[in-house]
Subunit: 362 residues, 2 copies
C-alpha cells in the first residue's frame, strides 16, 4: 500500500470516519421512522460498500443498470432495478442474475411489462414490479392514475410478474433544505391522492418507494412512503452541502489533485480536469465552477480541459506552489466515482484500504 | 461476437470505414505539407488505434498522462507527454517506461524542469523537453519570451535533459473554420515573434509543436510549425462538425442508445445519460443539448440524469417507440471514450471487431 504522499493524482480518496458516520446516520434515521432503506449503489458501485449498507440494516439495494444488478447480486439478495428493462440484452443479463436474488423492476409502460413478462416466463422466474409514477420530476413515470391502474392490472395479468407497489423519484426537489417545505407538501398531497385512488381501486401498493439524498432526512414527512433510495449520502458532495442536506465535514469523498502549473498569472492549474471531476454543475445556489477546494473554500475550479482544472484565485490570498496537493470537493460525486477504477480509503492520514469500483462502466 | 442488434446499450460504436477515412485524410495532409503528425491518443486510448496512426506515417504519439505513456509505449517508440510531470508518483511511472521508447515532456516551469531532471538523472535516462508557450489559450504555458529563454537555458544546464523545442496548444481557436482567418493570423504573428527572439538568442527550436483538430487542416498556415497533435479527428464529434472542421459523414463514433420511456408527454427517454455521454457543452454555434441524433438531426438530448437522456421532440415529427434504437453524436467524443471500457467497430452493419479502451481511467 503506498503512503498518501506517494499516491498518484488525480485520485478519489475517502475519509473512512466520515463515510461510516454517513452510513450510520442514514441507517439510524430509517430505524427511527420505521422506513425501509434501499440505498442506490450508483454512487459507489462497490459490493464492499453495499455490504456495509446491508450490515447496517438496509433491506436491499437499488441499481440503475442490469450490469449493476449483476455485480451487486454477489452481496445483495433483494435488488430493485429502478430502471425499465427494455431490450433483449438488458433482459438477458437481468435474468442471468443468481436466482437467490429477489428481483424487482420499476417501469412505466406496457411495452416494458410485456418484455419483462416474456423474459420472466422464459426463465421461469418471478419478478416483482413497481409502477413508476411521475410526481413532478417529469423524467419517467406515469402521471395519470387511470393509466397507473391500467398498468397495474396488466402486471397482475402477466405472471410470473407480481405487482409489488409504486415508485417515484423526487429528484426535482433540489432547492435548499430550508425552503423545501412547500415542495414536500405538494409532493405529499400528490402522492396522497394517488394512494387514495389506488385504495379505491383495491390496488393498495405494498411498497411505496421514494426518496433521494436532498430530501432523505425528511422522507417521513411524505405520507405513505414505505422505503427510500438515497445514493449520494454515502459520500455527499458540494451540491448536497450547499443545499444544506449535509455539513461540510460530512463530505467523505474528495479528489486529491496536484498543482502542475502556475505559468499563467492569476491562476493555478491542477491535474484534475473533466476526466477526473466530470462537468457537473452545482445544483444549488452558492457559486459556479466544477468543484471547490476543501482547504480553501474560496477557491473553485473555474474551468477545465480533460486533464487540466483551472483554479480561480481571485478572492483568495493563497499562493499555490507547483507540487502542492489539494482536495477538490466535486459538485456531483456519483460521476467522479464512475470516472475512476479505484478509490482509496483514508483514516488518520493513512491509506487503510483501496477498493475497485466494481460496477464502473456497467 | 454479438450481432449489432444484440449489443447492450448504451455503448459507443465506430463506423470503421469512416475511421479509416479520417486516419487517411490526416496522414495525407501531413505528407502534403511536410508536417510531422504526432496524434494525441487521449481521444481513443487504444494501442490498436495508435498503431493504425503510426502505420500511416505518424512520427510518434502524444499523451496527457504518464499512465497513458505507459500503455502506449507497447506500440509507440517516440512519445510526447504534453503535460508537466509533477510529483514523484507520476515521474516514477514515466521513468519506468521501457527505455526503447524515446520520451519528450512539454512543461512550463523551473520546478517541472528540476523534478524531471532529478528523475532522469536517477534513472540515467535522457529526456527531451519542449518548452510550453502560451499563445492565447491561457491554460498553461509561458507568455514572456524572456522567461522561455530562462527556462530553455535551465534545461540545457540539466543533462540528461535535452532542449528539443517549443510547444503550444491553439485550443482557444474554436470558432467556425470559416471565420478562423483572423485568429490564425494573430497566432502566426505571435509565434513568429517568439521564433525570431529565440533565433536571436541562438536557441532556435528543432521542434515547434502545435495543432489541434479544429485547426488541424490549416496547420500549414501557422508559419514555423513543424509538428501537430490533433486527437479528435480520428472519430470527430458534434463540435468538430458544427465548426466545419469535418462533414457530418466524417463522424465515426456514435453512442448506440435505446428508447426506454415515453411516459412523459412530449419527450422520450433514452438510456444514454451523463454516464454515457458526459456533460460537455457544444463548443460551437448550432444549438444546445448534449448530443444530437444521427438519424434525426432535429432531435437533441436536451437534459440528462446519470442513466437518462431526455430527447427534445419539439420540431420533430418522429414518434419514437419504446425499444427504438438511435445513434447519438456526442458533443465531445474524448469524454465518451473515457467513460467506456470497450468500443465496437462496425462495417456494413456488422460488428467486425471490439477493442478495449486500454488507457481508460489512466
Amino acid at each position: 500500500m503506498p503512503t498518501l504522499e506517494e499516491l498518484e493524482t488525480p485520485t478519489p480518496i475517502v475519509d473512512l470516519d466520515r463515510l461510516e458516520r454517513n452510513l450510520d446516520r442514514m441507517a439510524q434515521y430509517a430505524v427511527e421512522y420505521g422506513l425501509s432503506l434501499r440505498p442506490h449503489i450508483k454512487t459507489h458501485k462497490s459490493p464492499m460498500l453495499a455490504t456495509e449498507q446491508l450490515r447496517r440494516g438496509a433491506i436491499g439495494l437499488t441499481c440503475a443498470t442490469a450490469a449493476e444488478v449483476e455485480v451487486m447480486s454477489a452481496v445483495g439478495k433483494d435488488i430493485l432495478l429502478a430502471y425499465p428493462a427494455i431490450g433483449r440484452a438488458r433482459l438477458e443479463r437481468l435474468m442471468g442474475v443468481s436466482s437467490e436474488t429477489r428481483l424487482t423492476v420499476a417501469l412505466d409502460s406496457a411495452e416494458a411489462i410485456e418484455q419483462l413478462a416474456a423474459a420472466a416466463r422464459a426463465h421461469d422466474r418471478s419478478v416483482s414490479v413497481l409502477l413508476e409514477i411521475d410526481l413532478g420530476m417529469h423524467r419517467v413515470g406515469v402521471a395519470s392514475v387511470d393509466r397507473v391502474i391500467e398498468l397495474i392490472n396488466l402486471v397482475r395479468a402477466r405472471p410470473p410478474l407480481m405487482y409489488a407497489g409504486i415508485a417515484f423519484y423526487p429528484g426535482h426537489i433540489r432547492q435548499s433544505v430550508s425552503v423545501q417545505d412547500e415542495s414536500l407538501a405538494e409532493l405529499s398531497a400528490a402522492l396522497g391522492s394517488v394512494l387514495s385512488e389506488l385504495e379505491q381501486a383495491n390496488l393498495r401498493p405494498g411498497i411505496v418507494s421514494g426518496g433521494s439524498t436532498p430530501t432523505a432526512f425528511r422522507t417521513h414527512e411524505i405520507e405513505g412512503v414505505t422505503e427510500f433510495r438515497p445514493g449520494t449520502y454515502i459520500f455527499n458532495d458540494r451540491t448536497t452541502c450547499e443545499i444544506g442536506a449535509c455539513e461540510k465535514d460530512d463530505v467523505a469523498l474528495t479528489v486529491l489533485a496536484t498543482v502542475v502549473s502556475t505559468a499563467v498569472p492569476g491562476q493555478a492549474v491542477i491535474d484534475a480536469g473533466s476526466k477526473a471531476l466530470g462537468r457537473e454543475p452545482l445544483r444549488a445556489a452558492g457559486g459556479g465552477g466544477f468543484g471547490v477546494l476543501a482547504e480553501h473554500s474560496e477557491v473553485t475550479v473555474k474551468a477545465m480541459s480533460e486533464e487540466h482544472g483551472l483554479l480561480d484565485l481571485q478572492g483568495s490570498d493563497w499562493l499555490p506552489a507547483i507540487g502542492d496537493r489539494v482536495h477538490v470537493i466535486p459538485n456531483h460525486v456519483c460521476i467522479v466515482v464512475h470516472l475512476n477504477d479505484v478509490v482509496h480509503g483514508i483514516r488518520n492520514g493513512v491509506i487503510e484500504t483501496s477498493w475497485p469500483v466494481a460496477a464502473r462502466g456497467r
